[in-house]
Every structure is written in C-alpha cells, then in structure tokens.
Amino acid sequence: MQNEFVPLFYGFHFYLFGLIALASAILFVTRKSPVAAALWLVQTMFALAALYIMMDAQFVGVMQILVYAGAIMVVFLFVIMLLNLGHPDEISDIRGTWGRVIAGLFGIALLAEVGAASRNALVPALQLPQAPTDGAINGTAGVIGPIAGPMFKEYLLAFELTSVLLLVAVIGAVVLGKKSSNAR
C-alpha cells in the first residue's frame, strides 16, 4: 500500500467512509424510533470499521464488526424489541426546541474547544510528529501480533482485570434481569 497510486484511491475511500459515519451518526441522533436509531448506529459502526481497516488496524476493525455491530448492537435491538419500544411514542422523547438549540451549541462549543486545544498544543501529545513511526510504516501494525504483545505483557494485569469485570457484568446482568419474586 505504499505505492504512488494509493493516496487518491485511499483518500477517496477514507473521506467516503468518514462522511458515511458522520451522516449516519447525525441520522442516528435525530431518529424518533429507537429501532431506526439503532440501525443508523450500526451503520456508523460499519463505517468506522472500514476506517479502522484503512488505518492498518485490521484486527480492531474486525472486532468492531463482530463485537460492536454484531453483538452489542444486536443486544440493544433485542432489548428494544423485548420491551416493545419499536414504535415511536405519540409524545416525542426528544427535548424541546430550546433544549435542542442549547445542546447543539454545546456540541459546537465542545468541538471548538477541542480544536482550540489541539491548535494550542495544550496537551503535549498532540504535538504530532511529522513522520509516522517505524512500526506504523512497516505494515505490521495492524496484525494481531503487535497487539497481543503488549496486551499479554505490559497490560496483563489490566487484561486479567477486564475478565473479572466481564464476569461481574455477567453476574450483575443476570441478577438485575432476573424477575425477583419479592419485587414490589
């Protein structure tokens, strides 16, 4: 992917998926129906997965599709169906005009502040180096090995803790979801 031809082709697709992600995200927040919203979110995630793959993060991209779009969002949809929330209510759940305007202003303010922060190089890490690092260039960055390395060495403890977290989450979900007989 390092040949001269790539930038145009690559750039086109990069912007394409970026715009898809952006558009479907906007559509996602504006849909009244939860089901529609969920589907637009899935769309966003697919677009993001494509971006990941384009950025040499193939493994993450696959995980994005499998875990996020495939598993998590399906659970969401499943719950929406289960609770029969598929039909938009007569009364919209969206806040009033002023709420939307202020929320929008907040969003813009947030973007502006992030932009200003990166321009002011407030966070030293945002002083971006001009050239990509070696690992990124040699094309091995996206494959599983470089990810698994630090994960099972440096971040072994964190990794093990995530397993505990997941266990806790599973138990918590079961306990919460169980229909308690003595519920009021």
């Binding site: 907040f106 303010a109 947030l110 502040e113 992030v114 200003a116 922060a117 002011n120 407030l122």
Partner: protein, 734 residues
C-alpha cells in the same frame, strides 16, 4: 540551703534528743494510721464481687448481720454527741493509742525543751530529712527547724493537745465514730507540728493546709447533718481564700528573694528595700493568709460556724492551736514584717477592729459555744495587734495564755454540754443543749466546772493576777509605746499617720477589753447562775462530768491562773522577769528591736497608769454585767421572743454571712450557671460554633441534595457544562 546544718556539723543540739525531732510529728501520724485503720476496719463491709448484680442478695445479708451500723444511721439524727449506750468495739485500744501518742510526743517535746535549756543556742537547729521539691534554683527540702519559737509552739500543741485528747476520751466515749475521731485528732496534731516545725514556708504551708483539712473533717465530724457538713466546707473554702494569700506571698518571696527557707531569710531579705512596695505586698499577702486561718476580718466568718464540731475539737483546733497559726506565721516572719511598717500597721489595725467587732457580736449570742467562738476571734485580734506593733513576744505570750484559758473555757463548756446532753437524752427531749437560755444555775450541779470556768473568765477579762492580764496588758502597753516612738509611729497607712492609727488601736483594744469582760460575765451568769431553766424532768439528770474530763480542766485551770508568771513585766517583780521574752530573743529579737526603733520605754508611772486603766476597764465591765444582767428573767429558748433593733443585728452577727452569701456566693453560682455554663459553654461555644458549624454543614448538604434530582438527563447537562468549563479553562489558560 547554705546555712542548713546537719546534725553532724556541731550544732549544740546535734547530739541531744533534738536529733529525734522528726519523731515529734511521726508519733501522732502513727496514731492516725492505727486509729484510722481501726475506724475503717470497724465500719467497712466489703461489697460483693459484682456490684451491679442487684440488691436482693444484700438484703438478706444485711438483716442477718445485725451490725452496729444501724446505730450510726439513727444515732446522729438529732444533734451531735447523741450518746449511744454502746461503746465502740475498739474503744479500748483507741483510748490507749489516741491520747497515748500525744503524751509520748509531749514527753519527747519536754525532753527537747530541757535539752535546749541546757545549751546556749543562737542559731536554730535544722534537721534536713530529704529533698522535697528540687527544681532548678528552687530547692525545697523536707527539713525541721527547732528553735525557741517552734519549741514553745510544740509545747503548747502537745501539752494542751494531750489534755484535750484525754478529755475527749470521756466526751466522745459513746460516739459510734470514736476511732475516727481520734484518727482525725491525731492527724491534726501531726499537721500542726509540721506547721510549726517546718524549716521553710512551703513545709509550713503543708501543715497550714493540713490543719485546715483536719479542721474540715472534724467540723463535719457528724456529717449526717447538713449544717455540720456545710460548716466544715465553709471553713475549708474560706481558709483557702487565705491560703491563696499565703501562696502568692511565697511566690513573691521566691521571685524577689530567691529562697523560702527561714534559715537565710534574714540575710536574703536585705536585698529588698526597707518599707518598699515588694516587702509590703509580701507581708500583706501573708497577712491575708493569716486572716483566713486565724479568723480575722474579713475572713473570720468560718470560725463561729466551726463550732459545729465536737467541743474538744473547738477547744484544740478552733481556740488553742490552729487558729493561732497566723500569729505564729507573723512571729516567724518577724524579720519581714519589721521591714514593712505599713503592713505591720495594717495587721495591728485589722486585729484591733476584729477584736472589737467580734466582741460586740459576742454580747448577744445565746449559744454558749458561739460566745466562745466570737471571744476567740476577738482574742486573736488582740494577738495580731501584738504582732502587728512588733510585740512579737507579747503576741506569742497571749497566744499561750489564750491557749490555756480558752481551752479551759471550751472544755468547760464541753462539760456543760455533755451534762445537758445526757439530761436531754435521758428524757428524750430534743431541745438545744448548747443554748444558754436552756441552762442557768448549773453551779450547783457542776461545781468544779463552775469554779474552773470562773478562773478562765477572770483570766480572759484581764483581772490580775490571772494569765490573761499579763499578756493583754503587755500588748496594750506596747501599742501605746509604739504610738510614741519607732518606725510605726512615723509610717502612714492610707494617709493616716501611724501614731494616730496606733492610738486608735489602743482605744479599740481598751473598748474590746471592756466588752470582753461584759460578755464573758454574761456567759457565766446565764450558764451557772440564777435559776435553772433546763426543765423539771431533766434537772435530776444534770451532773458533773467524769474525772477523765474534769481532770484536764483542773490542769488548765492551774495554767490559766499562773500562766502569767511565764513572762512577768518588770513592774511586777513577783517572780522571774520576762522569761518568755528572753527565751524568744534569738528568734524575734532583731525584729522587735527594729520595730521599737530608738524609742525608749514608756516612763514607769505612765506604765502604771496604763495598767491601772486596763484593770479598771475589766472591773468596770464585769461590774456592769453583774449589775445589768438578770439571769432570772430569762426563759427557755423555745419560749424566748425574737430580739429587736440593734440587738437583733448583733444576734445575726451584723448579717455578714448573709451579705457574703448575697454578694459573693450566690452571684458566683448564678454567673457560673447562667453566663458561663449555659451562656458561654452551651450557648456560644457549643451552640454557635460547634453545633453552628454542624448546622452550616447540614445546610450546605441540604442545598446539595436539592441539586440531586435523580434525573439522569440533568446530570448529563451538568456534566457537560463541567467538561466545557474545564476544557475552556485549560484552553484559555494558555
């Protein structure tokens, strides 16, 4: 400590019996320990292992045991000295130990006295025992000082003390607290000896407070009556006001002179300017201590109440020994007082005023012991006049004669009360056994007591040749002499020239001598003369006390009659002249000379006139009393009308107690309760600050809780605002 002499260093007394001076206080202490253990052992009933286990078990136990404890509860229901027929189980051994240790101490004291007479001693004999409070440059040792002054005091204390102990064997014989009584009495003698034998002021202070403590315990001996317990407490607290003065005086002395030992006081005190503010303040603070212990204005109020204790206690503590500690203190500090004429004038003036003031109250008291109590206050005033004008020997002399005749008077009144009590007890009458209106005509029932008490009365009134005449006359004579010459006459007290003050004191002295003669005669007449008012049934039970009680009276009678020979004036060469004066010369000589100044003795004929005036006044007083008082017109206390006018004021002691109560005690309690406790403590500190800050926190918390709506949406909004603000702050900060 520089002058401190150990027995080895060749003091003339070092090889004599005087090296056992520590035994003097130790013996009574031993008596206290034994009697105290017996007292506690007799009444103690060890409780069960688990005190909170309930009372059921105890009930059965208590009824079964039949201990004499119930006697206690009942016995003191009405008045003191209620004579229970059962003698204490340890009465025998206590009667042996209690007076025994005192007699042994007296014997030892006499031996030391003889040893002391045998040597020529200018320096005091100081026996260092151990280091007591060695802190930095303050080096206070437990040390005893035996010199002429403390020897006299020791002899008075142990001598009179022995007699009173013996008397007590009879007086207290049926009291359930018999061993406790002797324990306290022994403890008192211990502290009193510590007071006079201590070689420095702090050690004297130990004795000073210790005797106060014993006085407290003995006044409240029959503690089941609130009045007695109150009187004891009052005595202690009022004394503490005086002790405050004593303490401050010691502080000033140490801060300015650097020592608290008597031994090098004379030389150390030279640092201070003569008559300066510091030495005057020191002396005045010491005198504040004296007004407490020796019951002078304004702190005399405790002594009359102290009569609530058993009568022998009144004789020993509140007449003969403890209350004279103030006089001893000034005699001991004569070096200091002679350097402060203003303080000395104050002493003399306060003493004179007290003498007069108390004498007037004594005129209208009905309780026989109260009369004697005010008489004691009055006579103590005399002693202070003596030591105030620098007649230290005369002051100590009067202290001694007063110890003789006042002990006799108290013990005599004790006999009377004993008899009255027995009579009332026999008929189950609950009338007042101490009120003179219930007495009268006791002469024919108790002739020995009557005779001896008349000797004492003549002595106190100042009729020659009884003891009191000599001592009183010497004091008055010196006052007159000092008014004419010497540093006192030239000093000024609050702008009033010294000689005016002293002449006033002289006149006051005469006036109170007159009053003394009157009230003493009144007491004798109402008690022993005229018709008997005790009651028909009781009369047959009135009788002289047993010999164990009258015996000591006889000895005291002899001393009261002939005690004056111990220090005869030059004018009356009927025996050795000025024995006591020569004896005390090494201790108070320098100070006396300084106070006398260059002034010559008063002319001989003037002196004769003075003596004549004094005697005439005493005779006039007694005659007036004889002429005006009508014992026959008296009726029993219960039938007596309340007095009117000034008599009522006198009978209520000028309402001084009431005044102190209203002006000091109640305000202090009131302010403490309402302002300090409820106001500052509970109101401001706890209310405003402590609970206030809690309320403030709670209010903040409530406000915070209002934000806590439970609406996730709201939280999200707040969160975003927070993030925006933080980011904004970081972005714009750069």
């Amino acid at each position: 400590m520089m002058n401190a002499q150990l027995p080895e260093t060749g003091h003339p007394l070092a090889d004599t019996v005087a090296r056992f001076v520590w035994l003097l206080p130790l013996l009574p202490l031993l008596g206290f320990v034994i009697n105290g253990a017996l007292a506690l052992g007799a009444v103690a009933k060890i409780g069960p292992d688990d005190p909170s286990a309930g009372h059921d078990h105890h009930d059965a136990h208590d009824h079964g045991s039949g201990h004499d404890d119930h006697g206690h509860g009942h016995g003191h229901g009405h008045g003191h000295g209620d004579h229970h027929p059962v003698r204490h189980e340890y009465a025998g051994i206590v009667s042996l130990v209690g007076p025994g240790v005192l007699l042994a101490t007296f014997g030892l004291a006499v031996a030391m006295f003889l040893a002391m007479r045998g040597v020529n001693m200018e320096e005091p004999f100081v026996l260092q025992l151990f280091r007591w409070m060695p802190v930095g440059d303050l080096k206070i040792n437990a040390a005893f000082q035996l010199d002429q002054l403390s020897m006299v005091m020791v002899l008075i204390i142990t001598g009179i003390g022995s007699l009173i102990h013996i008397f007590s064997v009879g007086y207290m014989q049926d009291d359930p607290g018999y061993p406790r009584y002797f324990a306290y009495l022994n403890l008192f003698v211990f502290f009193m000896l510590l007071l006079v034998l201590g070689a420095n002021y702090p050690l004297m202070f130990v004795g000073w407070e210790g005797v106060g403590l014993c006085s407290y315990l003995l006044i409240g001996f029959w503690f089941s009556e609130e009045a007695n317990a109150n009187a004891g407490k009052k005595a202690f607290i009022v004394n503490r006001i005086g002790d405050f003065g004593f303490l401050v005086a010691m502080f000033m002395l140490f801060a300015n002179v650097g020592t608290l030992d008597y031994a090098n006081m004379a030389e150390a005190a030279q640092k201070l300017p003569m008559g300066g503010a510091v030495i005057t303040a020191i002396c005045l603070f010491f005198f504040l201590g004296c007004t407490g212990k020796s019951a002078q204005i304004p702190l005399y109020v405790w002594l009359p109440d102290a009569m609530a204790g058993p009568t022998p206690v009144s004789a020993l503590i509140h007449a003969a020994t403890m209350v004279t500690a103030g006089v001893y203190l000034i005699a001991r500090s004569s070096i200091l007082f002679s350097m402060a004429p203003v303080a000395s004038l104050t002493v003399a003036l306060v003493g004179g005023l007290t003498a007069l003031f108390a004498a007037t109250i004594g005129l209208k008291q009905w309780d026989i012991k109260k009369v004697l109590a005010y008489s004691t206050v009055s006579q103590l005033g005399y002693m202070f006049v003596g030591v105030g004008v620098g007649a230290y020997t005369a002051g100590v002399f009067h202290l001694m004669t007063h110890a003789f005749f006042k002990a006799l008077l108290f013990l005599g009144s004790g006999s009377v009360i004993f008899a009255m009590h027995r009579a009332y007890h026999a008929t189950h009458n609950h009338d007042d056994a101490q009120d003179m209106r219930n007495m009268g005509g006791l002469k024919k029932f108790m002739p020995v007591t009557w005779g001896l008490m008349w000797i004492a009365t003549l002595a106190i009134a100042g009729i020659p040749p009884f003891a009191g005449f000599f001592s009183k006359d010497e004091i008055l004579g010196t006052v007159f002499a000092r008014a004419n010459a010497g540093p006192l006459s030239t000093a000024t007290l609050l702008g009033v020239p010294g000689h005016v003050v002293l002449l006033t004191v002289y006149v006051i002295g005469l006036a109170s001598a007159l009053l003394t003669a009157i009230y003493m005669t009144r007491m004798m007449m109402y008690t022993f003369h005229g018709p008997n008012r005790t009651g028909e049934a009781e009369r047959s039970h009135l009788a002289e006390a047993p010999w164990i009680m009258t015996g000591p009276l006889v000895v005291l009678g002899l001393l009261s009659a002939f005690g004056g020979w111990l220090n005869l004036p030059e004018l009356l060469p009927i025996g050795p002249i000025g024995t006591l004066e020569h004896w005390l010369e090494p201790v108070v000589g320098v100070a006396t000379a300084r106070m006398a100044g260059s002034g010559e003795h008063v002319a001989v004929d003037t002196e004769w006139v003075l003596i004549g005036v004094a005697v005439a006044i005493a005779v006039i007083g007694m005659s007036v009393a004889f002429a005006r008082l009508k014992p026959a017109a008296l009726v029993q206390k219960s039938a007596s009308p309340a007095s009117e006018g000034f008599a009522k004021v006198l009978e209520h002691k000028y309402y001084v107690d009431e005044f102190y109560d209203d002006a000091i005690v109640q305000p202090v309690k009131g302010i403490s309760t309402t302002v300090l406790w409820k106001g500052v403590d509970a109101g401001i500190i706890d209310g405003l600050f402590v609970n206030g800050s809690a309320a403030f926190t709670r209010a903040l918390g409530w406000m915070g809780a209002q934000l806590q709506t439970g609406q996730v949406g709201t939280y999200a909004w707040v969160l975003v605002i927070g993030v925006l603000a933080l980011l904004g702050a970081f972005t714009s900060g750069r």
